[in-house]
């Protein structure tokens, strides 16, 4: 069949639907059929599924002209998606085309939700197109004979690549691809990504830097420019609007007319707990919505989620309160309006959420921003600018994630075993491990085989064994089983299943929350009031309760930082407070009373000013610095500064950070002049000092948590099976401490520091911020009480610690205070 005849098949199908292919779809078909790899930059709901699914089918037709009568069995393409919730949607679209064209191609899903019987069936007979997640792909690589399964796979599509890039699941994907490139001889690799700042890099990471695959690749951009209207919800009375907070319930009544005026509205919240609360409160205040609003977040069971998604599609819901669980995929045509509650901390995410409304081509997207506290209105104003300028941020890919590599190598050892020379070559071609040294590689192999760097007598370490022909292999069944189980838990926190006592699955909840509950406590979850009965075999047993609850599960999500671009926009908005009102945005204008209050004892800084505020409360001495550089930079600067101050004399700090500034809280008063005289904001020795401050705080220790789980040091048990494996349970903290004491050169331990350094603190940005401060005039204000700017900071309870005092001295002072009480 000629290429033109192939296109005709596709064009005819579009005709039958009364659609017309977009230019980017045609372009993707063409380049795919030419045998190229690529990255397709297209937003959700733009028809990207058809852009890549069509050429996969056309390619099959081309190679099998008798496709209508004979079906060639075996896996032909893999579609990787970051969210299992999306797989059904993709399956439906794919099946529709496959059936309409009479190809007889089958589509199957392989994810954490896939039943065991289905898996067994797949093992015997793989579907032609497999839709899967990065974790499930790893699991397939942990299956014996995987090479045969994948042999004839001709295409791999990584959907929503921007969501994976910059995460360890992205690294997992890179590794999986590096293997499949060798196993499937004629495979094309395609990524689909929404707009991010570093699209070119995204393509490199997907295909491998300097790889033949990259050379033979294209970037296709869908020009589906969409008009986005951003509107801020502004409180009527700023005097009574809170200075801090993250729930935004004060403005609940302002949301009601928006809901009434739109067919379907999505209300995006940043955390699941916020989602739960909003859902409850809307129903409480407006019972007339009962049955017309629903809730959607990642911890709710699959059936309920799917029901909600279906209900949005057939327009039977007025509103859905949701979290990032509805960020991606799934085309919801009836959604007319989106409300974002609280800052999203990212422009790309904000734009993406806006795009969930007005989904039909040509329609505009409408998003309302609902501030949860006064200063967030500055953010709202900055967001307007950002959306206008399309200032989307980068997603920074990981480098040298040894934990993921340890996991991957074990995976290969569990299935068919691996030869290091072959795998080394493959991983050297990935973005993540392009710079791995021979020493590091050898270290990892030793770690897998000996659990240390040299063979010790009496040591019974058992994991990977080296066979006579040099193949690395796991032969122990228990180790293989535990490893397979652990692959799925790359995201970390231990989750427990919530069930009614008589059965009936409700969802999953973080162990952290449940551990705080006592029998009889009532908590809100999945929109219900539940009474906690007990934890049994990793399951939380509950019963319905009519009692009012005050406890809402808290999830740790949502502590992201502003990008450089967004921080700059934010500063500019703030500086506009000094301009005449006619030049201010509506949000800034509305903040007048707050600014006035701020000016009573302090200032609203101008571009050339760096503000420091100090005051005393019952908590101690507060010292607040306002660089307005985003949380990441403030974490770095706060650690650096407190470390430098702690060198002057023994002192203990509790640190808090947000996107506007940071606080050093202490029981001692700081002499700000001394800090300035000692030039503690200098860029000299930043690297060294920052590294030392990392040892003094617990940031790296926290980072180590994921590393320990991913690399298989910490085993989380088999929650699904109800086996807790108590004798193997330990905390990552314990591991961190023994590494610190006995094996500080361990690469996994070291990784905790590099990761904090590169991914959390962003040293480069810190330097620039320090240089900017050097040129500013420092304005130090001694206040009698907290200012509006300082309020969100001083009330933040998630804190970092740093101390240069002797433990004994600290205890003595702390206990002395206790006695006084």
């Amino acid at each position: 069949m000629t290429t033109d005849q192939l296109y005709k098949i596709a064009e005819d199908w579009f005709d039958q639907q009364n659609w017309k292919p977009f230019a980017f779809q045609r372009q993707t078909w063409k380049t795919f059929l030419q045998g190229k790899n690529g990255l397709l930059n297209a937003p959700t709901g733009s028809g990207k599924t058809y852009a890549l699914w069509f050429p996969i089918i056309l390619d099959y037709i081309k190679n099998h002209p008798d496709y209508k009568t004979t079906h060639k069995k075996g896996l032909k393409a893999i579609w990787i998606t970051p969210l299992r919730a999306l797989s059904h949607e993709i399956k439906q679209s794919a099946e529709r085309v496959a059936n309409d064209l009479g190809t007889g191609l089958s589509v199957g899903i392989r994810s954490g939700d896939t039943s065991t019987s289905e898996r067994v069936k797949q093992k015997r007979n793989m579907p032609d197109l497999l839709i899967t997640t990065p974790e499930s792909l790893q699991l397939l690589l942990a299956t014996k004979g995987y090479a045969k399964t994948f042999k004839n796979c001709s295409a791999i599509v990584v959907d929503e690549w921007h969501e994976l890039l910059g995460t360890k699941r992205g690294v997992q994907t890179e590794l999986g691809l590096s293997r499949l490139k060798s196993v499937c001889k004629k495979v094309r690799i395609w990524g689909i990504s929404a707009t991010i700042g570093n699209l070119d890099e995204a393509r490199q990471v997907l295909l491998g830097p300097a790889s033949p695959a990259l050379d033979n690749s294209v970037m296709i951009k869908a020009n589906t420019a969409k008009k986005i209207t951003v509107k801020s919800i502004i409180p009527k009375k700023m005097e009574t609007f809170p200075w801090r907070g993250h729930l935004g319930l004060h403005l609940l009544e302002k949301v009601i007319p928006i809901l009434n005026n739109s067919k379907t509205t999505l209300l995006f919240t940043n955390t699941r707990s916020q989602c739960e609360i909003w859902f409850q409160k809307i129903l409480e205040k407006h019972p007339e919505y009962a049955g017309e609003i629903a809730m959607h977040h990642g911890s709710i069971n699959k059936e309920t989620r799917q029901w909600v998604e279906q209900a949005i599609r057939n327009e039977s819901l007025k509103a859905v309160v949701c979290t990032s669980s509805l960020d991606l995929g799934v085309d919801f045509a009836p959604v007319e309006t989106v409300v974002q509650i609280g800052g999203t901390k990212g422009i790309a995410r904000f734009i993406q959420r806006a795009g969930r409304s007005g989904h039909r081509p040509g329609k505009e997207s409408v998003i309302y921003f609902l501030p949860t506290h006064a200063l967030e209105l500055v953010e709202a104003s900055a967001l307007q600018q950002a959306v206008k300028k399309k200032e989307v941020e980068d997603r920074i890919p990981y480098l040298n994630s040894f934990d993921v590599l340890v996991q991957y190598l074990t995976t290969l050892a569990v299935s068919d075993g691996f030869y290091p020379s072959i795998i080394h070559k493959e991983i050297k071609n990935t973005f993540c491990y392009q710079a791995i040294t021979m020493e590091q590689w050898q270290w990892l192999l030793n770690f897998l085989v000996m659990g240390s760097q040299s063979l010790q007598t009496y040591d019974e370490f058992k994991k990977v064994e080296v066979e006579e022909d040099g193949r690395f292999k796991v032969n122990h069944r228990g180790i293989a089983m535990r490893h397979r189980f652990q692959i799925g838990t790359i995201v970390g926190d231990a989750n427990l299943t919530v069930r009614y006592q008589k059965g009936g699955y409700i969802g999953t909840i973080e162990e952290y929350f449940i551990s705080k509950l006592k029998t009889g406590d009532v908590f809100t979850f999945a929109g219900r009031n539940l009474e906690f009965i007990r934890i049994k075999q990793m399951q939380v047993h509950v019963r319905n309760s009519s009692k009012k609850s005050t406890k809402v599960p808290a999830w740790m999500g949502g502590r992201m930082s502003f990008s450089t671009q967004m921080s700059e926009l934010l500063r500019n908005e703030l500086y506009s407070a000094a301009l005449p009102e006619s030049q201010q945005s509506i949000e800034i204008k509305s903040l007048k009373t707050i600014f006035d209050k701020q000016r009573e004892e302090s200032i609203v800084p101008k571009p050339n000013e760096f503000l420091i505020e100090t005051f005393e409360t019952n908590d101690g001495h507060h010292h607040i610095f306002y660089p307005f550089e985003g949380r990441a930079v403030h974490e770095a600067m706060g650690s650096l500064l407190s470390y430098r101050i702690s060198l002057l004399s023994p002192i203990t700090f509790s640190l808090a950070f947000n996107d506007y500034g940071f606080e050093l809280l202490s029981d001692q008063k700081l002499d700000i002049q001394e800090i300035l005289d000692n030039n503690l904001f200098t860029t000299a020795y930043v690297f060294d000092d920052l590294q030392k401050s990392l040892n003094a705080t617990e940031m790296a220790k926290r980072k180590f948590r994921d590393i320990a789980v991913i690399s298989g040091l910490v085993f989380t048990g088999y929650p699904e099976k109800g086996i807790k494996m108590k004798h193997l349970q330990s905390s990552s903290q314990l591991f961190f401490d023994v590494f610190k004491d006995y094996e500080a050169d361990n690469l996994l331990y070291q990784q905790a520091f590099t990761e904090t350094f590169e991914h959390q603190l962003e040293e480069g940005r810190l330097r620039m911020a320090l240089e900017r401060i050097q040129k500013q005039k420092i304005v130090c204000k001694q206040c009698r009480q907290p200012t509006p700017f300082s309020f969100p900071l001083i009330t933040d309870r998630l804190r970092e610690k740093l101390s240069s005092e002797k433990l004994a001295d600290r205890i003595k002072r702390m206990t002395a205070k206790l006695l006084k009480k």
């Binding site: 535990r482 193997l728 004491d741 006995y742 702390m814």
Partner: protein, 210 residues
């Protein structure tokens, strides 16, 4: 490095390692060493640093050298799990100390008593010495003072400037003393204290009354 306390007119010394020395009886009480835990984890594929094995024995030697006891009573969970190669180190260690050793059974102690007896170690479910009841699990009993372990107690203290610290500790109530875990690779559990409880925290080689 130590703190002295009196119970029933006996003098006890609390050591920063988590051991208690009963002066009048020249006896050392040690709880929850969890020997073999490191090797157990390693056997199951989790690479805990090998050097952590030696640390437990070094610490034991240190305390023995400091107090020079005639007798050591382990208050349970001496070994974390089934027999593994750390037993070899333990045998060697036992062979070179001149002290009598007694083990009170803990929930983790699943190694055959015969193996201990072969090393001359007595095993008991509990032991009563001069109105002091020695057990692994906390077990209040009328008329006795209970020394026990099992809990791995820790205490949380808070101070001005939103400071807070969490430290392993000796936890003493009216008639009970829970010892901290002596083992290096063990966790701890925060206990809430009542007014009348006495807490001695372990901090950087010191024992500090809180």
């Amino acid at each position: 490095m130590t703190q002295n306390i009196r119970i029933y007119d006996h003098e006890f010394i609390l050591h920063a390692s988590g051991a208690v020395f009963w002066k009048g009886k020249a006896t050392l009480l040690i709880s929850d060493v969890h020997l073999g835990k490191v090797s157990h984890f390693r056997k199951f594929g989790a690479a805990v640093p090998l050097k952590a094995i030696g640390a437990n024995f070094e610490l034991l030697d240190e305390v023995i050298a400091y107090f020079n006891p005639e007798k050591i009573i382990f208050l349970g969970d001496l070994f974390h799990a089934h027999l593994n190669t750390e037993w070899i180190y333990f045998e060697a260690w036992i062979a070179q100390i001149a002290t009598e050793v007694i083990l009170i059974n803990g929930n983790h102690d699943v190694i055959s008593p015969l193996k201990y007896e072969a090393l001359g170690i007595e095993i008991h479910d509990e032991l009563i010495l001069d109105k002091c009841l020695l057990t692994h699990h906390p077990e209040p009993r009328q008329g006795y003072f209970n020394f026990c372990g099992h809990i791995h107690p820790a205490v949380k203290i808070q101070g001005s400037g939103k400071q807070s610290l969490r430290l392993p500790c000796f936890f003493k109530t009216q008639d009970q003393m829970i010892l901290p875990a002596f083992g290096k690779f063990t966790g701890s559990y925060t206990l809430k204290r009542k007014k009348e409880d006495e807490v001695y925290a372990l901090a950087e080689g010191m024992v500090i009354k809180i």
